[in-house]
């Protein structure tokens, strides 16, 4: 899932400036799971903002709404009939949702309410770690299911670099060397031969190097 983190409320207040009718828009998907932008976080932010503006003696109307998703037309359309009542939206969805809402409601300013971080997994409650960078050419089949693109600081593809010490990365002793994990896993799978095989040059044009990307699937297009 996409992992996001809370944005400091002071920053959101600053973004909002002098708006007087604000909709706090949550998302029921990834940001709900990582407890940054779901219905509950919408409630907390809305309540805090209401108190803040009242304290400033400002009459600001703050409403709350949480959509199933903000990255699909049909869910974002659900607020079309009432979006004109607001002069700003704070979207607690990931950066995708914020942008999609902004594209759909062109004349309404949409502000981000979270910091979108990465694609990752919930290791435990309150701890999310990166697992995928969406490089567009998945190599997990030959790296024992552990991704050197997202989990190695240097994204090296043929074994650990010289900075790997005692299975830890040189940038931080708390980060496990991805290649250490890969070798251990390949050993457990009795597939160390995969480690011996040289990785060909990776085509980074499907990564961000090729600019903004898109997936076209004519087979499912209407």
């Amino acid at each position: 899932m996409i992992v996001a983190d809370k944005k400091p409320i002071e920053e959101i207040i600053e973004e909002l400036g002098t708006h007087e009718k604000i909709l706090i828009l949550g998302c029921n998907e990834c940001v709900t799971v990582c407890e940054a932008g779901g219905k509950k976080e919408v409630g907390i932010l809305a309540s805090a903002l209401r108190m803040y503006f009242l304290n400033q003696k400002r009459d600001v109307k703050i409403d709350e709404e949480t959509l199933q998703r903000q990255c699909d037309h049909e869910y974002l359309e659900e607020i079309r009939d009432r979006v004109d009542r607001y002069d700003a939206i704070v979207s607690l969805a990931c950066g995708v949702g914020v942008q999609f809402a902004a594209e759909k409601y062109f004349s309404t300013p949409v502000y981000p309410g979270v910091n979108t971080c990465f694609m990752g997994a919930t290791e435990e409650r309150g701890l999310w770690t990166e697992r995928c960078q969406g490089c567009g050419q998945c190599i997990l089949a030959r790296t024992g299911g552990i991704c050197p693109v997202s989990r190695c600081a240097k994204r090296v593809l043929n074994g650990p670099c010289g900075g790997s010490t005692d299975g830890k990365c040189e940038i931080n002793k708390e980060i496990i060397c991805a290649w250490q994990l890969i070798i251990e896993r390949l050993k457990a799978l009795d597939r160390l031969d995969d480690y011996e095989a040289l990785s060909p040059l990776k085509d980074w044009s499907t990564d961000r190097a090729g600019g903004p990307r898109k997936v076209v699937r004519e087979d499912v297009q209407p």
Partner: protein, 116 residues
Amino acid sequence: MRLSYPTSIKIIRVPCTGKVDILHILRAFEKGADGVYAVGCMEGDCHYTSGNFRARKRIEQAKALLDTVGVGGERVEMFNLASSEGPLFAKIATEFVQKISDLGPNPIKLNKKHAA
């Protein structure tokens, strides 16, 4: 024991302080409460293992948030005591009410009146 404590306190019963959510606390202030405190079991004595620790964390979060929005984090507290400690319950209630009285009314409430 026939102990008395200030009548300005409204007790909201929950099955465990672990049920207390930050939203409950914020809504109380939005609705005009001058102070909120949670009374949980002694640390290590939670029937559900960690309910009172969870509550304490949420109280800390609420404190930080209330400080940010200008209501004042000192209006929220968490206390731990056993169910047999009636006199301590009354003492805490009296002291907390005194503390909140000294702080004065919730600024939100005052401004709501102005707005109305």
